[in-house]
């Protein structure tokens, strides 16, 4: 029997190679995703280990410290105590201050300034170029910051303090910092000497003291010594504990990414499984006759069955090995991609390929198990028929194209019911996250039901498309796509899953974007908005005055956010505007009362806050001991609890009021040329180091580009699943071509040209791709709508919108991919000689 199996393998090389590629791709995808998850985790761990490297003891404020202690940080004398503790070889404080950094374009950006630890071993960054700062006027700069701000070693580094005073440093080096709470925040950062730091921020706020032990002193001994030396109120940890604690946090963060990737691996698994299953079904169906012949010459049913399984096992094993190797490649590729896009530590990405036993097991499990299972069903079917009947059977004859069973319909209906119930439950959820997850899971169950009844509607859709086709080759193609509904349904299913998910995500993201656009329009009746790009560097009154003098500017409204304790409101955060701007430049959606003519002792309150506090128009409340009367209620949530006048906001802030404004709203005279006005405004803007000109259009563009980036990532991942799915189409087509050699020859004999034969296959491929893609788009749009409904609540309204452009691109890509998928099978079919084809059994 072994000889027969080997001979069989050799004889059907082409078909086997194809199915092996299908298996290998699936395995590659699953292992690639797992390896990627492990790599991301390892990468993050390694990065975090850096901030705790060489640390033998770490001092933090006790977790139960009160607020004022928390605000002031660890007192400076504690550092001295730690340094003089027995067994400490060196200790340094960790602190950072915010300052505005002037880029070479003259624009300020928020930057974190850290002091250079005096103990060399405690520096948690790697020098890249030059040296670390030694003098008070020297600085080293993070490599990423250097790149963004266009600064290099030898340049001057200009930092602005809280009062906009400029401090100049010479850049003497660049460094790379491991991921830490600081570098993860995405802000730029620089390192100066401890004395240099004091010139910018006089007050020190130490959040951590780290120490290295002298030789022979254990971490625990060191911790005990330090604990005794500094007294209570502090948490002293060993370096090991610090590492473990940070790693636990990182583990969680990396775990989230891994969950996402695993969910994705599951989808890829299903897609790959379907392609493999379909390939095997066709393979065995084609061999029915051969298997029957084997039985006629005396092979037992069990022998034939085992031979099919053994073959599947062999293929599964070989393809799994290839797939796992391919998966490592996929993972390396994706890491390189993330590296260029820039992750949490984009400049420091190293390609890692950790191979765990889980990954190997999953790879082989998928490759071998799915393959063998995929072979069992068709093999059982093949061996069940009487040998003589099987010998007579033609491809796609009655017994081959079984009608969609009643059982299938019943099962699908039940699953659909469960899914519908899930969706209903999801829609009832108040909170956004559970609503999203429950509804998301439920629509996947619905998708399963839809896939199950594929053989029912796929022929209908095919006939619908077929009606639009002209010409004999195209009509023949439609007939071919419709001849075996089960096969066509299974082939298109993989693609359908991929497209459904992409379309769903696209619709949800598109709706989110549409909503944001509307909000931007509503929120910005002003033509332009000038804001400070450094949060603690407000725009000055002088600057506002300059701006109001620019030609065509009809009105300027400064904005000031204020927060104070309130007797009635949970959060006393309000936004202040000049009274004459409220109702014109500031136009919230009104729920009652009037906006105009707001006095300094009056407040426009958000409806929800008012309800919660039991307030209505006419009631009064206190913020920062100042009495306000409620004169109007609004629906918008973009002003905090409410709107007050500018003087009122200043009085709420009392001594903490900044010397200026966070934002200036600019209104142009009617009919002003926007381009001219922008040029005029920019001349004034250029005089301020921190001011940035914004506009509604630009805000929209900014928001959209963020959503688009997320979408791009999802498209890239799902794109891989689509490639597998399209490979499935190519596979089915190739096997069909082999199966229909005789028919193709007949058609050629009757006068179908080579070109027409190729055209026929290309059209069939496009038809299958379109069935998958169109049904996928419809499902995705529907599911997207359900998700949007689920996520939306009274608080957060998303209006449903279909991004037709992107979906059009997707359909276009499906057609192009279908043409590519058909290329090889079509070539093969056209190359066959007519006579040879007719002779084929």
């Amino acid at each position: 029997m072994l000889k027969t199996i080997l001979a069989g393998l050799r004889a059907r090389t082409a078909r086997l190679v194809l199915s092996s590629i299908a298996i290998a791709l699936g395995v590659a995808f699953v292992t690639g995703t797992l390896v990627l998850g492990d790599a991301v985790e390892a990468q993050t761990r390694d990065n975090f280990a850096r901030s705790a490297r060489n640390v033998d003891a770490a001092v933090h404020l006790a977790d139960n410290s009160d607020n004022t202690v928390m605000r002031d940080g660890i007192p400076a004398d504690v550092l001295q105590k730690v340094r003089s503790t027995q067994g400490v070889a060196g200790a340094d404080s960790r602190e950072y201050a915010s300052a505005a950094l002037l880029g070479s374009d003259g624009k300020a950006r928020n930057a974190a300034v850290q002091p250079l630890p005096s103990t060399e071993k405690l520096r948690d960054f790697n020098l890249k170029e030059g040296k670390f700062p030694a003098k008070a006027d020297e600085a080293a700069i993070d490599v990423k910051t250097a790149q963004i701000a266009k600064l290099k070693v030898g340049d001057k580094l200009k930092l602005l303090d809280k009062d906009n005073v400029e401090h100049s440093f010479s850049i003497v080096g660049t460094y790379q910092q491991g991921a830490s709470s600081m570098s993860m925040s995405g802000s730029d950062h620089v390192v100066v000497s401890p004395e240099g730091l004091r010139t910018i921020v006089p007050d020190q706020r130490i959040y951590e003291i780290v120490a290295v032990a002298a030789p022979g002193v254990s971490q625990q001994q060191l911790v005990d010594n330090i604990g005794k030396a500094i007294g209570s109120g502090y948490k002293v940890q060993t370096g090991e504990q610090l590492t473990q604690e940070t790693l636990a946090q990182v583990g969680d963060a990396a775990g989230e990414i891994k969950t996402f990737l695993l969910a994705f691996a599951a989808i890829s698994l299903i897609v790959a499984g379907m392609v493999i299953y379909n390939t095997f079904t066709i393979l065995v169906a084609q061999r029915t006759r051969e298997l029957a012949l084997l039985r006629c010459v005396g092979a037992e049913r069990g022998q034939v069955f085992r031979s099919v399984l053994a073959e599947a096992l062999f293929m599964g094993l070989v393809a799994s090995v290839l797939g796992i190797l391919g998966g490592l490649g996929v993972s390396a590729g994706l890491q390189a991609l993330v590296g260029t896009v820039g992750g949490p530590s984009g400049d420091d990405v190293q390609i890692r390929l950790p191979i765990s036993w889980v990954t190997i097991a999953a790879g082989f499990g998928v490759g071998v198990l799915v393959t063998v299972l995929s072979a069992v069903l068709p093999a059982r079917r093949a061996t069940k028929v009487a040998p003589v009947a099987a010998l007579r059977s033609q491809p796609d004859s009655h017994d081959d194209v079984a009608r969609t069973g009643k059982v299938r319909i019943i099962v699908a209906s039940l699953i659909a019911l469960i899914g519908a119930a899930g969706v209903y439950f999801g829609l009832q959820q108040e909170k956004e996250e559970p609503a999203m997850f429950i509804t998301g899971g439920a629509v996947m169950v619905l998708l399963l039901a839809v896939l199950l009844v594929g053989p029912l509607y796929v022929p209908l859709v095919n006939r619908l498309f077929g009606k639009a086709l002209r010409g004999v080759p195209a009509k023949l193609a439609s007939a071919n796509a419709g001849r075996n509904p089960k096969r066509t349904a299974a082939t298109t299913a993989a693609l359908m899953i991929g497209v459904t998910i992409v379309a769903m995500v696209t619709v949800v993201a598109g709706s989110g974007r549409e909503t944001m656009n509307q909000q931007v329009d509503k929120r910005f009746p002003a033509d332009y908005e000038v804001s400070s790009n450094v949060w603690n560097q407000p725009l000055t009154q002088k600057f506002a005055d300059e701006l109001s003098k620019v030609r065509n500017v009809s009105q300027i409204a400064p904005e000031l956010s204020a927060y104070g304790e309130s007797d009635k409101l949970k959060y006393g955060d309000v936004t202040g505007y000049p009274a004459d701007a409220i109702g014109s430049l500031v136009r919230p959606e009104l729920a009652g009362g009037t906006l105009t003519g707001l006095k300094d002792n009056e407040i426009i309150l958000r409806e929800k806050e008012a309800k919660e506090a039991g307030l209505s128009i006419g009631s009064s409340l206190k913020i920062s001991d100042k009495e306000f009367k409620v004169v109007a209620l609004i629906k918008d949530n973009s002003y905090g609890a409410g709107i007050v006048t500018l003087p009122a906001a200043q009085s709420i802030l009392k001594d903490n009021a900044p010397k200026g404004y966070q934002k200036l709203l600019v209104k142009l005279a009617p009919g002003t040329d926007i381009a001219v006005a922008r040029a005029d405004l920019e001349r004034v803007i250029a005089t301020s180091p921190v001011a940035v000109l914004n506009s509604a259009a630009e805000t929209k563009a900014e928001l959209n580009s963020q959503i688009d980036q997320v979408l791009l990532f999802i498209w890239a991942l799902v794109g891989l699943a689509l490639i597998i799915a399209l490979f499935g189409i190519a596979n089915t087509l190739t096997l069909s071509v082999l199966e229909r050699t005789r028919e193709s020859a007949l058609l050629r004999a009757l006068g179908l040209t080579r070109g027409q034969l190729r055209q026929m296959l290309v059209v069939e491929s496009i038809l299958m791709a379109l069935i998958g893609a169109v049904v996928g788009v419809l499902l995705g749009a529907g599911f997207g709508w359900l998700l949007v409904q689920a996520i939306s609540n009274a608080e957060f309204q998303i209006s449903f919108a279909i991004p037709f452009g992107q979906i059009g691109v997707m359909l276009g890509l499906a057609v192009i991919a279908a043409v590519i998928a058909a290329a090889l099978p079509a070539r093969r079919a056209a190359r066959n000689s007519v006579v040879a084809g007719m002779a084929e059994a």
């Binding site: 491809p395 006068g751 080579r754 006579v835 007719m838």
Partner: protein, 250 residues
Amino acid sequence: MSALVSEVGTRTAAAAHNLVKVYGKGDTAVRALDGINVAFEAGRFTAIMGPSGSGKSTLMHCLAGLDTVDGGSIHIGQTEITKLNDKDLTKLRRDRVGFVFQAFNLLPTLTAQQNILLGLELAGRKPDQQWFDTIVNVLGLRDRLHHRPTELSGGQQQRVACARALVARPEVIFADEPTGNLDSRSGAEVLDFLRMSVRKLGQTVIMVTHDPVAASYADRVVLLADGRLAGEIHQPTTESVVNALTHLGA
């Protein structure tokens, strides 16, 4: 040679001149056709006979433009088809030649009617409704037109194939063992029809067969042996064919 001479004056539907076809190379090369000279008159029913492996199918495939040749020339009507490229050959088959094969004549996805009209559709020609009706009625396919091949008996399938070959009124119909898979009654029906189409409709039919009974329906039998012409019989009967075959040593 005598065959060629005797045809002078009558119209020739298809002819082969010094036709050579070799399969394989070197030691294993087989000369399937070894210098064949033969002509087929228009409006007649000719059978090609010979022992198995004598080159009957190969000859038919070459004559019909389904296969390339290694020497000599072939004419369909006035056209030398050995000079045509694949595209022109395909057009020639589509427009001027009809086929009936031993089996797998029909596309399983199309109904009987669609199968009958397939050739015309490929050529972009409108079917002549009256002609279509005549053929369908004569062949008794009227109530089978909307069935698919799997719902037809073997004999019905072959009759559909005959109808397809005839409906386009080709210059020549080639049939390769059209009755090979049929029981004797269904076979007789198909052969009757082919003979009728020649006698009454003036069609030209060239049929390959190894069955002396089938050959007896033809006007003339051309005998092949080892890739060469081995004689011919005019107005054959089953007995004369069996006789000739015995002499060939089959």
